[in-house]
Structures are given as C-alpha cells and as structure tokens.
Amino acid sequence: MHIRVENLTHIYNQGTPLERTALHEVNLEIEAGERIGLVGPTGSGKSTLVQHLAGLLQPTTGRVLLAGTPIHSKGATARSLRLQVGLAFQYPEDQIFEQSVFREVAFGPRNLGLDETEVKARVHWALEMVGLDPARIGPRMPFTLSGGERRRVALASILAMRPRVLILDEPTAGQDPQGRRALWEKVGQWQQETGMTLIIVSHALEELARLVERVIALRAGRVVADGPTREVLSDARLLRDIGLDVPEPVALLQALRQAGKDVRTDRLLPAEAAAEIASAWGLRRAGA
C-alpha cells in the first residue's frame, strides 16, 4: 500500500505554555513493500510520525494518504485502509487487557468478524511468529509472563490482523538477542512473501542494517536524511550530529583509518568489518 505524507505538521498542546512542535512540514513517499528504518534521538518525532501513519492522530496541518485516500476521510474506504495498518507501540505491553494470551491475540481477528476456526489459526500462527508456543503460553494470564514475553504477545496481536503495513516502534527493546534474531528472521520472511510494507523505529542500528533497505532520519521533527541503509548508517558525521551512535563496526574502521590504515568504512556488521580488516591486514584477499 502506497503511503504519502504531505506537509505534515503536528503541534502538541497548541496555544498553551507547553506547546511543542513534534513534526514540522514532513514530506515522504513510501512505496508498497518497502522495508524502512526510522531513526532519530529521543523527542525527534518518530513516535508521533508513526501514529500519524496509523491514523491515530489528527494533523495540525498537512495530511497522510493511504493508497491515495486521505487517512482521516469519512466512509468505508478510509476505514478499511486504516485497518490495514498495524502499529505495535513502544510499550506494547500497555495494550494488553485480556484474561488469557489466546483471547488477547484473538481480540482483533474476532472484531474483523472472522469465524472461530480462522481466528484460532491466526492466533497460533501469530504466536509462533513471535516465538511463543501456543499450547504452553496460550492459556496463561498475560501478567504471569515476563516483560519480554508480554511484548511478544502484544506484537502477536498486531500480526494476527495480517496488516499490509506493519509499523514496529522499538519492537525488540527488552528482547534477548536470540529472540530478536528469530523474530527478525520470521518477520523478514513474511514481509518477503506478502510484500507488506515494514516500518521499524529503532535505535538498534545493527538490526536495521540487517533488515531494512532504506533509512529515514529525523531530528527535531524534520527529515534530515533519507537514503539507502548503508549510506545513511555509515555517515558518521550525520549520525553524531543528530545524536545517534555510529554502528560500532563503522566507528572501529574509522578509528583505524585515522591511524593511517587503508580500510573502507561503510561496513555495518561485525562480519563485514572483520572481513575488511582481514583483507587490509593481508590475511585474505579483498572480497574473499
């Protein structure tokens, strides 16, 4: 589903002493099936922007179009388009309210009016996607789960809606590394099969480097960079300038360059950086 953001400005508490402009004249085009990372420091407007993409906020000025239709227009078309955008919040455990994990994940699909067999199938599928065993975890009360497990339940309840646009706001905060890897593998695979649009808000630049093809950087409510992942995430000056960390492999390669070593610095992952150093140190041929 094509998404277009036009001159979007969002001002919180307009006309009060606490007035704050969270987004300032943002323009974006997102094609169907793109995998996008959204980065920026605390307070840069990332969460506000994704809430607009899901139609949860009214713009102060400007608008958001889903497949050409303004997201806040009245009528069945806009409503059904909004239902196809799934947003998992920054603290997704706050959205949990049901008595059992099964009922929690089934809530959305039931509201879609699906029959019980389909609801059950979707719940099982969604729990497996997030690495939870439906037979073991399904009957549990959500509050008996650990913080990380509750986040996965909340994510499963979004996945069970089978959105065409999936937006994850800091989805892996509080997840152990194995859980993260497994989740990304499954979500990435599903994205490829369905051609859904995936938008990930994250500070975990290494994860973005593995998963997304385009990175949009926000600072103080404005888009300050928008380009291929390798380009944006190896631009150390830009990242430091907007208050983000440079991925450690890039920082290491830059330090080596400063020490007079002839190495490329646009290597975002540990394996890529190790290969680059190995070839520069004559341990193996470049590209091997």
Binding site: T42, S47, Y91, G282
Partner: protein, 279 residues
C-alpha cells in the same frame, strides 16, 4: 564485615490459577560486596526480574534466604529498612511515574521518607542535574518521551539516596545519547558515590562495563565472572541465546583468521591498539 547482599539457596515459585506452579528461581546463591558494579544478563523469562524484585523485598523467597546489609528480607519488620537501602528502576517508566510534574515525581520518594522540605529541594535539584533534566522540572511526565521518562524514574530513585541501585533494563528504551548519559551516570554513582549497582541488561556492551557479569538461565545463575572471561566463552553464550558485543565479535573473527589478538580486548580502543601494534 558481611557482604552487602547475600543470597542463599533462593527459590521462588508462583502458583497459577490452574493449580500448576512455575518455578521462577531455583538454587540461587550469590553475594555482592559493597561498592561492586555487577551486570546481570540472560534470556527472556530466565528469572532476572524476579531475582531483582527479591533485593528490595518486593518479593519474598518461597525457599532460601535473602539478606540485604545483614537484614533478612523475609522478616516483615525489615521491609522498609531494606527498601531504603535498595532503590529500584524498572523497565517501563510509565508504570513508576506518579506525580503531575517531573519535580514532584522525583520528590515523591524522599517526601514519603519524611525528609525535611529544604533537603528534598536540594536532593531533587541534584538528581535532576545528574540525569540532565533540569529544564523539564515543571513538565508533566506524560509530555516527555519514553527516554526522558526513564531518566525521571532514575532521578526519583536517586533522590532517596539508596546505598544500592537495582536497574532492570533501564536503557532499553533510550536513544544512544540517553543510554550513554544513563550508563555514565550509573558508572559515576558507582565510582564516586560508592553505590552498589546491579544492572540488568540485554546490551552486551553495557555488561562489558561492569566489574562482574552474572548470567542467568532457567531460573539460576550459570556463570559469574569478570566480563573478559565471560566473553571468552563465545559458543556458550550463543547456546544460551546471548550474543557478543560487536567489538568482541570482530576480535573473535579476526583471531579465527589467524590474527594474534590478546584475550583482554573488550573495547574499541583496545582493538584499535591491538590491531595497530600487530601490523
């Protein structure tokens, strides 16, 4: 003198409505000295948060004993004394902010302890300065971003002047700048104020900054070593679902390529130095 925290054969079991029981902690034995900086890592559901909640008597053992500064946490008379000694900062700051402005929120703890008004003001100023939120003191906490709220929660814990801080993934929702601020603050509190730190984290780079790393799995402590020794066990960590810090990962890969690097490489500076002297 006795260690600050002593845990003996700690077990914690909680019942489910179905009558089934879940063993969250078993055979945990641990002692932490005053002034130590300890990191606690482990997969989701391994019992890290359950263990943390035993350190200020939010949970009472169903088996075994926890002593905090010589006080047994299962004795009801000790609960408040224990909570004054051990401050907690949780994963989700939204659940720990209680007041309508940032400064009132930070003042909540010392107010409840009956600290005189003048001293409360001083403590609030100091705590907000440490986390860098002086400019937000009049803000309602819900106006702040997730990261800023976590800083308020940390300031609130600091304002009660605990001798130990237990932080349950305090940085997992922060941006890199906030993360560094918080980690630097934790290190400073440890180094300069002598505050004992137990830091629960999924960030291996953060764990590398501690003096000692504990690894939990399936409700018990399976490794307890200095960071360099923990990260030397790359395969074991991966088997537990954990990963290496990126720099340690790169160093491992280069050793596998035949580059002789010392086993003590933990930080970027270590690795640059080792590489520049090896070629």
């Amino acid at each position: 003198m006795h260690p600050f925290i002593v845990i003996e054969n700690l077990q914690y079991v909680y019942p489910l409505e179905s009558g089934e029981q879940i063993v969250a902690l078993r055979d945990v034995n641990l002692s932490i000295e005053r002034g130590e900086f300890v990191a606690l890592i482990g997969p989701n559901g391994s019992g890290k948060s359950t263990l943390a909640r035993h350190l200020n008597a939010l949970l009472i053992p169903t088996g075994g004993t926890v002593w905090v500064d010589g006080l047994r946490t299962s004795d009801p008379h000790n609960v408040w004394a224990v909570r004054r000694k051990v401050g907690m900062v949780f994963q989700n700051p939204d659940n720990q902010l209680v007041a309508t402005t940032v400064e009132e929120d930070v003042a909540f703890g010392p107010e409840n302890m009956g600290v005189p008004a003048e001293e409360i003001r001083q403590r609030v100023d100091e705590a907000l300065a440490i986390v860098g939120l002086e400019a937000y003191r009049q803000y309602p906490p819900q106006m702040l971003s997730g990261g800023q709220k976590q800083l308020v929660a940390i300031a609130g814990a600091l304002a009660t002047r605990p001798s130990c801080l237990v932080l349950d993934e305090p940085t997992s929702m922060l941006d890199p700048v906030g993360r560094r601020q918080v980690l630097n603050t934790i290190q400073r509190l440890n180094a300069e104020e002598g505050i004992t730190i137990l830091l629960i984290t999924h960030s291996m780079s953060e764990a590398a900054s501690a003096q000692r790393v504990l690894i939990m799995n399936a409700g018990t402590i399976v490794m307890d070593k200095p960071p360099a020794e923990v990260f030397a066990h790359g395969a074991k960590l991966q088997a537990l679902g954990l990963s290496l810090p990126p720099i340690v990962d790169i160093a491992h890969r280069l050793r596998a390529e035949g580059l002789p690097l010392p086993p003590t490489v933990l930080t970027l500076q270590d690795l640059v130095k080792a590489l520049c002297t090896s070629a």
